[in-house]
């Protein structure tokens, strides 16, 4: 972008902003004051002790891929920015390594917070920002629901139907199969009655 173009684009952005003043339909954020309470109740933990020391984001191995950093996400929950939080890629990219929860000086379990947010997002039908990650988790549980143990080939089949990524990892799959790491047939446990009661099924 040339200097002139840059100036022009900044001016037009400023112009849009000016025209939005006093216009209710252009409200940039719509906080939901009940969101913090909802998250704290489901997660059974208080989030208000967070004083933004940024230690969670400092140690997080996946910040390079996240659209919102973990400490920002906690602040956004405190502020009631429900849609922004539930639509973030961050809640799906957390690998659950627990570094944040381990290092938080205020005892906030941020990794657990991510679980709670993913559960709210799925139950309230929010489109996941990372459909492949969500699809992996739901396919995984579908497979366990059926037989009680993970059968990798069955899980991958369900994953592909959920995400339509038909050819992804086909070569790797073959290399693993040829070393006997992937079994053709599932092993099912005998006592399966409880599985459908305990393991939820999600559309996404």
């Amino acid at each position: 972008m040339t200097n002139a173009e840059e100036t022009a684009s900044m001016e037009s952005a400023a112009g849009e902003k000016a025209s939005g003043v006093g216009d209710d339909s252009r409200s940039a954020i719509s906080p939901d004051p009940s969101f913090l309470g909802q998250v704290e109740e489901i997660g059974e933990e208080r989030l208000t002790p967070c004083f933004q020391c940024v230690k969670c984001s400092g140690g997080c191995p996946l910040t390079f891929a996240m659209d919102v950093l973990p400490h920002q996400l906690v602040r956004m929950v405190q502020m009631g920015l429900k849609q922004e939080v539930l639509k973030s890629s961050t809640i799906w990219l957390c690998a659950g390594c627990e570094t944040c929860s381990t290092r938080c000086p205020n005892g906030v379990s941020i990794a657990h917070l991510m679980d709670v947010l993913r559960q709210i997002a799925l139950t309230e039908g929010v489109e996941p920002a990372e459909p492949e990650v969500a699809g992996f988790h739901t396919a995984f549980l579908d497979e366990i629901r059926a037989g009680g143990r993970l059968h990798e080939m069955g899980m991958v089949r369900r994953y592909k139907f959920r995400t339509r990524k038909w050819m992804k990892d086909a070569g790797l799959g073959w290399r693993m199969f040829s070393r006997g790491k992937l079994k053709l047939l599932p092993v099912r446990i005998r006592d399966r009655e409880w599985l459908k009661k305990v393991i939820p099924r999600f559309r996404r």
């Binding site: 191995p61 996946l62 390079f64 891929a65 799906w92 990219l93 690998a95 659950g96 390594c97 627990e98 570094t99 929860s101 381990t102 379990s109 990794a111 679980d115 993913r118 559960q119 799925l122 990372e130 492949e132 990650v133 969500a134 699809g135 992996f136 988790h137 739901t138 995984f140 549980l141 366990i144 009680g148 143990r149 993970l150 059968h151 990798e152 991958v156 994953y159 995400t163 992804k168 990892d169 790797l172 290399r175 693993m176 070393r179 006997g180 790491k181 992937l182 079994k183 092993v187 446990i189 005998r190 006592d191 409880w194 599985l195 009661k197 305990v198 393991i199 939820p200 999600f202």
Partner: protein, 302 residues
Amino acid sequence: MCRLQTNGKVIMDRNLSYYPGCSLHGTAEEYDASTREICALLGVGLHELDDWNCCGASSAHVLSKEASVLMPARNLALAGREGKDLLVPCAACYGRSKAAQAALEEDASLRDKFGETFAEDPPAKVSIVSLLDVLAEPAMLHRIQEQVKKPLAGLKTVCYYGCLLVRPPRVTGAANYEAPESMDHVLTAVGATPLPWSYKTDCCGGGLAIGRSDLVAKLVDDLLMQAIDAGAEALVTACPMCQGNLDTRQQEARQAFERDYELPIFYISELVGLALGHPGVDAWWRKHLLDPRPLLRARELM
């Protein structure tokens, strides 16, 4: 203490319930085989739980707190009936089982839910141990040292513990959770050279391997580059997800970041088995995507 009888028969002096988990019956069969076989050599009897189920691993806790507790709780109830300590070699299963045990202890409503679902009392308390817990006990280290037939002299490795064996310490009870040393002690006992490095407990990406393998490749690349910087020619793990990601995503990482590394990724049990002179090690190496045999030949270990 276990004593080798004159007829070569080992008397088991410690008996444990054994929960292999799904990975050890699938993608990580070499971890299962090497764990069973070294335990037999070291006088530890393993008794697999009958009709065990998946612990929910990387996914149940993401989608349902209740499922993430009740699934491991059923296994804990099976183990409770046996009354022995429970060996869980998979780090994910270990972490989830410990988390479920803690949740049941703290939360009466989960105990009620357990009773409602399985029509029995909540599981009796059993001690859940990892393979490193078993191998790194002082008496066991001594026994390993005594039984080493082929010291792994000259094998330069870094110990990679990953996340769930140590974190969160509130659940795992790990004392030295930022810089654990148990695996280093085991490797030293078998004559290998574990090198110091700062990435012992950094994450490999775990369950993102299928949905976002590109991110896992980045984390794998970071770990391998750090290991190489430390002077290592192989990494040693005690987790099927760590070993799996580092082994199966190494090619993707090599291509994405234009590297030429080829580092074998061992399970600690495999290296102990090699040092104890187990005759069946070759079957384990065949399971690896990145064949460790050229390195072992170069170090005159096979």
